[in-house]
């Protein structure tokens, strides 16, 4: 083999970097799924819970466009139940805390939706702000 002296150390460095994430996290605490506080009084979300977990942002986007731009103020879910389209009046009636529910996951996965820049979180009302 030509250039053995360069190739073999090069390969070693390459594999070192390639496997870095695996052995770097060895011995560290493993990832824990965030545990948002679930509503006490309500068992069913607007749609299937697993689906909501994955797609709530799309539903909220659609809700927002429908209510602001197309005057559709109510949503009838796949089971036929009618809900008023409103973040504060519908979603946050069951999920009563921005900190304990929304942010539990959003902080963990570092997404920062700007809903609460304008919408009034239930906490703000409770604290009398």
């Amino acid at each position: 083999m030509y250039d053995k002296g360069k190739i073999i150390p090069g390969l070693i460095i390459f594999f070192f970097l390639l496997t870095f994430p695996f052995w770097y996290s060895l011995g560290q605490a493993s990832y824990e799924s965030p545990k948002p506080k679930l509503p006490v009084n309500e068992k069913k979300c607007i749609e299937d819970v697993n689906w909501m977990r994955a797609n709530h942002m799309e539903l909220l986007n659609k809700w927002r466009d429908m209510v602001v731009r197309h005057d559709m103020t109510h949503y009838v879910n796949t089971a036929g139940k009618d809900y008023e389209i409103s973040l504060e009046k519908t979603c946050m009636k069951c999920h009563t805390s921005r900190k304990e529910f929304c942010e539990k996951c959003h902080v963990k996965v570092s997404v920062s939706p700007y809903c609460w820049d304008c919408h009034v979180a239930p906490e703000e009302v409770r604290d009398g702000q």
Partner: protein
């Protein structure tokens, strides 16, 4: 050889059949798209073009104005008492007669109008210039004639403010939150860099209620469908002489004033 092929085909058929029944796999349901129906509120008040008549004769004291303006501000989280006058946020406000109607200028105007304050708000024009200039369609005309704002979409370019001949639009030069006295959780606040204005209480109309200012005005403001000849606004318009702001611009305002 043949035998093997037969087996493979059988296996494929059975698994396909199982697949179609979609039976046993847990959580499978959560992968199907959920397409609910979007419907209008059944309590909703309907119109082709909402319009308002303001009877300026019935606004006599400061209290009359304050009651109406307060009703709007408190419901819509409108910031109040911003120290810099140029950064004020106004949805409905009082102004001098000659400011609201500059084209009515007359050095010998009856004395009553000299001191008369007049309510001023978004005119929800039939041909709104603000809608024409908005580059993101954040402001648009609804089917019921309300010039609506989608705060989510507003990029704060302020073209609409330049286009509006009535000064009905305000820009949030700063975060309005500290100036909102009591936040109403049922209506969003706004953030810095967004334009806002009166929305004819579209959220109350959807609930079957009259706009907040109309409700608080004790009959000094009349609200209804301009395109319905039997509506209350049309009745009032038939019986009274009314003027609109800057009619020469052709925006066709839908807020009328009994003088």
């Amino acid at each position: 050889m043949d035998n093997k092929r037969r087996k493979i085909l059988k296996f494929a058929a059975v698994s396909a059949a199982l697949g179609f029944t979609g039976l046993p796999i847990e959580g499978l349901a959560s992968y199907f798209p959920k397409i609910g129906k979007y419907v209008r509120s059944d309590k909703e008040k309907k119109a082709k073009q909402w319009a308002m008549v303001i009877d300026t004769r019935k606004f006599k004291t400061k209290e009359d104005f304050k009651r109406v303006i307060e009703a709007c501000n408190s419901i819509h989280n409108v910031p109040e008492d911003i120290p810099n006058k140029k950064q004020e946020i106004k949805w409905i406000w009082e102004d001098e007669f000659e400011h609201v109607f500059p084209d009515q200028e007359n050095p010998f105007l009856a004395e009553r109008y000299k001191d008369q304050e007049v309510l001023s708000l978004c005119n929800h024009c039939q041909h709104p210039p603000c809608v024409r200039v908005c580059p993101t369609q954040a402001t648009f005309k609804r089917s019921d004639g309300i010039v609506m704002m989608d705060f989510h979409r507003c990029i704060g370019c302020r073209y609409c403010m330049a286009a509006c001949p009535y000064g009905s639009r305000s820009f949030n030069f700063r975060d309005p939150a500290p100036y909102v006295k009591h936040k109403n959780p049922d209506f969003p606040t706004r953030m810095r860099g967004v334009v806002e204005k009166c929305l004819f209480c579209y959220e109350r109309l959807a609930d079957g209620k009259m706009p907040a200012c109309v409700e608080a005005s004790n009959g000094a403001m009349i609200f209804g469908d301009l395109m319905d000849p039997n509506s209350e606004v049309r009745k009032v318009l038939r019986e009274n002489y009314t003027i609109v702001r800057k009619p020469e611009l052709g925006t066709e305002p839908c807020v009328f004033y009994i003088i």
